[in-house]
Amino acid sequence: MSQIEQAKNEPKGARPKEQITTDPSDAAQRMRAGSMIIPVTPWVIAAVLLVLMPFIFTDNSAITIMNQMSITIIFALAYNMLLGQGGMLSFGHAVYAGVGGFFCMHVMNWSDFFAGLPLPLLPLFGGLAGMSLALVVGSFSTRSAGTVFAMISLGIGELIAACSVIIVAFFGGEEGVSGNRTYAQPFFGVEFLQQIDVYYLIAFWLILSALLMYLFSRTPVGRMANAVRDNPERAEFLGYSARWVRYYSFVASGFFAGIAGGLFAINYEILTEENLNTASSGVILLVTFLGGVGFFFGPIIGAIAFTLLQTVLSLQTELWAFYAGVLFVATVMFFPGGLAGLLMMHVPVFRLGKARLLIIPYLKTLLPAAIGLLGLAGLVELVFHYRHAATGDNEMTVFWTTFDSHNILPWVVLIAIAGIGLGIAKKTAPSLLEAWNEATTPDGGTR
């Protein structure tokens, strides 16, 4: 009894540290297991935000990028049903989204039928196509998790991607299949001519699918997916076949991936081999992990961050993939909980009402660190330019400043910025750590 007594006296919130920072499957306890209500506030906020977004960013290109983001979010959430919720690592998930998208393109081109179909219903067909494929593949791939599952997914992914150039009738070869969304039956008079119309269609599906996926995680089979992920054997001795539980998750994930594919078809009106290939499958893995697999909203953050990197940063520098790679490796090494894990580390701090304590130390350390890192990135750009730019083409622009890369001054300046920034950060890091410990310790505990 003594241990139990002792444990009862422990203050709440003093969970072991690695629980907060490093456990990617921390989801369970966040989900507020016992409460009878599903929190509504975040969903309302998200919906309102989605509605307002186009009024803030009126550019067509901003809307296009937001559309891309929303599609990636759905896809990443679907992927996380496998990786985060079900513990299944897939290297070929793009094929479910892709096949869903291709199927939608064919529906779009089936003019008699499409003319009578309101466009907002189209993604459903994508979902069903993705689900059908998952039904077939899952029947043998979900027998075990782990390496076998991962390798089967890789093999199937490669096979279907290779089929895309061979089976031209369905995949349209290398030029893909294209169609025209405006041939659908007008939906309350909207013909979806403009990006903004498409934006609201995608936003609607984003909220709907995210909600459904969230609710799925609250159902018996969704809960058991977590259980099977953590301990398949125990789950079997509770009456659940681990294989069937995985199969259900897999099929559901295929469905939502297919929805993402359908939305892709609507947004871009073209699907090609790239929607199926292993590179796309790899990207969605990166996106999900970057965001954090342990939290339902992790993939959302990941999708937003990655889309920005890919479409916006790549406008600024051709080294964008290099930075993405560095960011990714750094995330895996230092924050395996992903960006979401990083955010959620602060929940106990807020709960303790000690967030104030962190503001100054954060400013003191992270600001110089960020400046230092930007200086470092500037140096990288400089080296790259020095090495690869054409002779005579000495002018370059970094951070909106144009200078001569063959001059010594910018090198000195950037080295100084990087050195000083990182130096200050290193110096102030211990005090940040101290503040952090202080902020995460409840008042009763220390005194």
């Binding site: 009894m1 003594s2 241990q3 139990i4 002792q6 444990a7 009862k8 969970r15 072991p16 629980q19 456990d23 499957s25 921390d26 989801a27 369970a28 306890q29 297991a33 016992g34 409460s35 009878m36 209500i37 599903i38 609710l215 799925f216 609250r218 159902t219 018996p220 089979v221 969704g222 809960r223 058991m224 977590n226 259980a227 953590d230 301990n231 054997e233 125990r234 789950a235 079997e236 001795f237 509770l238 009456g239 659940y240 076949s241 681990a242 069937w244 539980v245 259900y248 559901a252």
Partner: protein, 252 residues
């Protein structure tokens, strides 16, 4: 009356080594049965054979008269046989409450449902809370199971095992590695939660065995050398020789 669990000619070999060498055993309904024996006698293997963690080399296992040959663990569980493990086997990343609730899902008939919300189901919440009450973990309900103390984890394991309402409960060394006070606590707990159920347990602690069991089987080198009431087994000279004597001496 059909016995709750019946083993006939059960054998298991790993390569050349025969670990279980022909076991016949019949355990009646609502009986508390303990399997004891020295280390390496094959007690855990026997458990694993019964629950289809390993397939037997030969022989049959019958649960309420139904042959379990070829069944998967989850199918056996659905027939009303539930087990715990020697090494704590829970869902460490889930909360205590969720651990218990997961154990309730199948027996409450939710199966692979994806249209029910678990936290909106009063039967699940109340059922899980009742179990938590029984195993004295109500206070810890929202902690991840992995951070519980060892004794608490063992208690949770028992809770998960009995939650599904199985009428045959198998416990593999429920008190292993516990202090005396913890052992007493777990023993009381087992008595309380297996009321009216068939209990089969492997146990080293003779105090627990004699305090709990209606009947005892002694397993030595893959064979049952004696089965009977505690006092009969205690008196059996072969048991004395093989095992009990030494063990009983150590008790004092």
């Amino acid at each position: 009356m059909t016995p709750a669990l019946e083993l006939k000619g059960l054998r298991k070999s790993f390569g050349k080594a025969e670990i279980i060498r022909g076991i016949d055993l019949s355990i009646g309904k609502a009986e508390r049965h303990a399997v004891i024996g020295p280390n390496g006698a094959g007690k855990s293997t026997l458990f694993n054979l019964i629950t289809a963690r390993f397939p037997p080399t030969e022989g049959t296992v019958k649960l309420h008269g139904q042959d379990l040959t070829g069944m998967q663990p989850f199918q056996i569980n659905r027939l009303g046989l539930s087990r715990s493990f020697q090494i704590t086997n829970i869902f460490p990343k889930m909360t205590v409450f969720e651990n218990v609730r997961c154990a309730l899902l199948w027996s409450q008939g939710y199966k692979y449902s994806f249209w029910h919300m678990v936290n909106r189901k009063r039967d699940l919440t109340e059922g899980a809370e009742a179990i938590l009450e029984q195993i004295n973990l109500t206070e810890r309900r929202n902690l991840p199971a992995g951070v519980l103390s060892y004794a608490e984890q063992r208690a949770l394991e028992i809770g998960i095992t009995i939650a599904g309402g199985a009428d045959v409960v198998m416990l593999d060394e429920p008190t292993a590695g516990m202090s005396n006070s913890e052992t007493d606590y777990i023993t009381d707990l087992i008595l309380k939660v297996t009321e009216g159920k068939t209990l089969i347990m492997v146990e080293h602690d003779m105090g627990v065995v004699f305090g709990l069991a209606d009947r005892i089987s002694v397993l030595v080198y893959g064979e049952i050398i004696a089965t009977g009431k505690p006092e009969d087994v205690r008196a059996d000279p072969r048991v004395q020789e093989a095992y009990l004597g030494a063990a009983l001496e150590a008790e004092h």
